[in-house]
Assembly symmetry: D2
Homo-oligomer: 388 residues x 4
């Protein structure tokens, strides 16, 4: 897929990228493609070929100029069909993922799709199959995996430092809609967003669990609740017309894993004071891990094999060269920020494309998360345990 | 009940105490009765009349001498029948609570009973009714309520600083049985202990929720799991004969409250590195609270009504005179320890007895917790949601 | 000194204690003598023979009754002369330490004297010489040494886990006099208190340094400042007559140690929000330690010899049996409080008396601290470096 | 200076930048110029005109291509003389700052110079005078000021939330040279680096103090020490030839400020476990602030004017729109990293250039820091207090 026309053996291939979406995730992707080649030794060069979004050409061109996208498109089908594009990056709301990914696959483009992969499990499966059939590389944008501190958690599990895992305990708590007068946005509409805190943030906890522990979910009982069912249609008219919130404000579930461990998960947008409190604790026979994105440069590790009198949760500043992804591009202690995990994600995915290596999280990982989201929804609806 | 024979109006009445139990909780109670009168201005004097336990008289006398118990008994019925005792303090394993409390009530003694009140809901109800019928004061030993920092949480809720409550999120995590060779003790036997982490520690989280928020539990789905089902019978023979663990290692439940809030609870003894991580977070529309017993002198409070740019979780060192129970007996910043919440519990209960005032947590509070424990057990067994 | 009249070889000797002082430190000592025998296996029994203070006999008797002191005295010379006393515990303001200690020594009583040992170096030396000549055991009340977490710091240094020490960085910060209208108390009068934050709290940092590191101070440059030089004479009359504060509000010094390490110390009572922030950090070639009394059950240890990718400050909950003094009397995670370090201090000192073993911190340690305090004062006055 | 040739009034002017230096700081500057226009609404466009460094043209071109510098120079005088450059950004070691800044000023270019401004006070003064005479805008690169959390500290002081300041207590601790076999680099050579931890990191604490508090330093006593005076010349030959370390490993000083407050400062590269522990605490009559770069998205604020029972250090996640610089470019809780403060610095400086507004920290601020560094050095040498 990627351009081989650069004849010299010594030259790096170029990956030509088309981005769809220019809101929050569009910014994150744009920054990542713009800067990935600076901080890590990429096996390719990145061409920021085109950005596509539903907007006026003027606005879109302004966006493109800022980030260095060389052209614009307003029709994603056109973008996907362009022969000068190798990789389509989908950074749109969930309900748009499927048509866009299918279109990319149809055109045999590699594809990076934001999470959750789709609004339904069936859609996600269809997308994964399409990408697989097309023979392209696929990435599902669970970007927190690319944070050095979270990757270090995975590494310590792999090294056997945690031993048999007993528990996963995760909470992803935000507070941006605590105010009942916070107005309607697309994220509150089930048709567009699929779900609320479940797909938006709990999905990250589910993926982090699979990534760090390697465990798979077995049985689940879930609960979804909408605590502020109506919100003003317009931000500046709190007393004005109301819209219906059709997604969950809070998602919770208990579960078991294939090794017999238990899980406890909660995601909410109503936890006053918690800004992006994406945290996960893993307790094993030999050690424990604790990770919290509000403290993103750190991993907490308890080593039960250390001399007994010196055991304690070690706060590891995961910014050293010995840490995954060199702990980020800066010297030790000079932490990274939110944007950097997207940079690392792009580095990893492009490397996998060029080196034709396996990549995770791919769409199958995306589907695996979707199975859990789907089970939580069904369980919450039927008020019963469900086997995945 | 308490002795009024001291005729002078100026003299304080004496409360004559009989303690049953001389293990972990017996120590905590003994210390509390011995020292309560020193640190707080009690409206009575305490007479440490007798201690009762199943042990050799020699051992028991040694215990009594250490703490200042004036006599010993080895039969709790005798103790309860003694006319020179006003208050019976029950500090034995759960399966013994009922007969002892009933005996105390029969003899019209005030009674302080350790938590959980009983091993079954039916027993707990019977005990509460007996105490009520006997017209005595009763206290269920949810001692963490007496920690100034937890009492401050309740106060802030009462003051309206949290507003409408959205979530309760609690975890009580310990790690003392992480080693699969940790040998059998009575706490692993359902007949003696009733349950495992559920009644032992999750009960505290349930009581803390009721205490701090004033909310009542409505619907519950629970899960209990025994992850290490066999343990050596003898501590020094890890390869020797095994016994069956008949209680849960981990207890979890999701729930709703009478105001529509959601709850998420987990209690475990297998969380490596967590020593006595009894923590609870309460998120409301106006603010949030976070309390963790491993950090017992502190309460974390997020005030969403503060100027926006200075909002953050405030770490309140609850050791000042302005805090509940004067923040403990020492000057500000000179923190209290585990034993002190029992001291304050005894101060509060004795004061209620003397002043004939309402006391909480009483046996009705104990029953309320028991209803939740019972629901969790039934829910876990039937794998369904249960309405309390 | 201690009573050997109890004839049986199997019986423990009794140490008969006389306490002088019944304010803040008098409370701490009383509690310690009252309860030491309960929590630790003492090689003696404690007889709380007499308490002595300048107060009405009624008030003093009330105090004695509360704690169990068997008699009262209002003249310390009488107390020291009593033949039924083995140990005199001095818990009075600094200017009274010398006459009381000398009197105790004259009467050949063991003596525990609160810190700082004296208001001047000369006095301290005289006291140490007197105690030494009398052949009695002496303890200078640097009680924080008895906190299990601080003792663990010492242990890790002893075990070589820190290696060559590069730096000591200590701050003891309180805020109880931040309000300029906080009224005059004896602690602000140089004649009574000797100094302000220097002797009161910086002395603890100096002792902790010597205790944990084993290093001795060599050169010092100090600075003392009184930022609120006048305060109301009466607490309820902020606009009323003022008194002169003749001691420092803040004390600071830089120093070098006998191994070439550097030190940086600050003590203040004007650090708004810091309640009893007695903290010390020690950086060595192999590891670092951080201890803060506001977090008294914990020690932070960074192990540079651990695998590189898992290094971090471990937060050690020093409440386990493997920790010094069994980590306190309760099970792991059930923390101790301020009062408990006095209990442990008394246990250690009485054990040293009975077993005729070396005890630290003794008066020589007290003198060593005093040398530093004296050097800081002279250095601050002369505005120059001083060699100790 | 900046290009006005773009005729339309509606068009933004362009600032054409020449960067000198392509090591650590060169990377930070390059990233900032590359991305400043993306995240903030700049009043100009940035043209990355040329990068200059002593390197092979190949290496330099590779660097230029990565970041988007349009041309390269290997002679800084040529760079400074180029008519197509408006702003020279100096990101070289300290001993090169003066000639480069003077050259830039001679050519009437705006100039951003890394900190410390120079290796000596005299040089710094000369540079500030030259820039002033040239009439150009000047920025001294104390970039931590641009961190939203540190800027928030300044804002709270400005708002009067801290009141009269009593103390500044700062420590900047790193551990990158704890290993005695860490080999010689230019930073250990006084001729090149000017000083060690003093100018490299303590300078940041000094600037942060001036920035946040607005106080000026009055009297100082300082201490510098080189604890590892020899290091291997080559990293891979620890037993090989040694070089002399001619700068301090640790710098400390005590001081007073113009309002009577006290200061205590330490900077070290030998604090095992401290990675980039750039922290400062400010205690005032009404409140306190605590800031630590290892926790860069947070500011701790204690508000003594809040209701007494709810006072505590609030951990403010300074990533909201209400915070300085909108708390960074991302939604609340999605923290920024080290690189972002350079981005904000460039945004602020370019804005000041275009809008012809006052800018801080400028070279006068750089000189003010230098006066303190100079006083510390002289004080350390003479072992006496020095008035600035």
């Amino acid at each position: 897929m990627y351009d081989k026309k650069t004849s010299s053996q010594h030259e790096k291939p170029t990956i030509r990228v088309g981005l769809i979406g220019h809101q929050f995730m569009g910014l994150a992707h744009s920054n990542a493609y713009r800067n990935a080649g600076i901080w890590y030794d990429l096996p390719c060069t990145i061409d920021m070929t085109a950005v596509c979004a539903k907007d006026t050409p003027e606005n879109l061109q302004t966006f493109a100029d800022k980030f260095g996208w060389r052209s614009i498109e307003t029709d994603y089908q056109k973008l996907c069909a362009r022969p000068d594009i190798d990789l389509v990056s989908v950074a749109t709301p969930g309900f748009l993922h499927k048509p866009m990914v299918l279109e990319a696959a149809k055109n045999r483009k590699h594809v990076l799709c934001e999470k959750p992969l789709a609004n339904t499990l069936a859609d996600a499966v269809e997308m994964a199959e399409a990408a697989e059939r097309a023979g392209v590389r696929h990435c599902c944008g669970y970007s927190y995996r690319s944070t050095p501190s979270q990757a270090l958690a995975r590494q310590l599990v792999d090294e056997g430092r945690i031993g048999r895992i007993y528990h996963v305990h995760a909470r992803y708590a935000q507070d941006w809609i605590v105010d009942p007068n916070f107005a309607m946005v697309w994220r509150f509409d089930k048709k567009l967003a699929g779900s609320g805190s479940l797909g938006d943030i709990c999905a990250h906890s589910i993926d982090a669990t699979r990534f760090i522990t390697g465990l798979e979910f077995v049985e689940i009982v879930g609960h979804l609740q909408t605590m502020v069912p109506e919100r003003p249609l317009k931000a500046n008219e709190p007393k004005g017309e109301k819209g219906q919130v059709t997604v969950d404000d809070v998602a919770q579930f208990l579960c078991t894993f294939d090794n017999g461990a238990t899980g406890c998960f909660e995601a909410t947008r109503l936890a006053t004071g918690r800004k992006n409190n994406n945290c996960i604790e893993i307790n094993g026979e030999k050690g424990s891990l604790y990770w919290d994105f509000e403290d993103q440069n750190y991993l907490y590790f308890y080593d039960r094999t250390a001399p007994a009198h010196q055991q304690g949760f070690a706060r590891i500043n995961a910014t050293e060269n010995v840490h995954p992804y060199s702990g980020g591009p800066w010297p030790v202690g000079h932490g990274i920020g939110y944007a950097d995990c997207f940079v690392i994600e792009v580095v990893n995915f492009l490397t996998a494309i060029v080196e034709k290596k396996e990549y995770h999280p791919d769409f199958h990982d995306g589907v695996a998360v979707q199975k859990v989201l789907d089970a939580v929804e069904r369980s919450a609806q039927k008020k019963m345990w469900i086997t995945i």
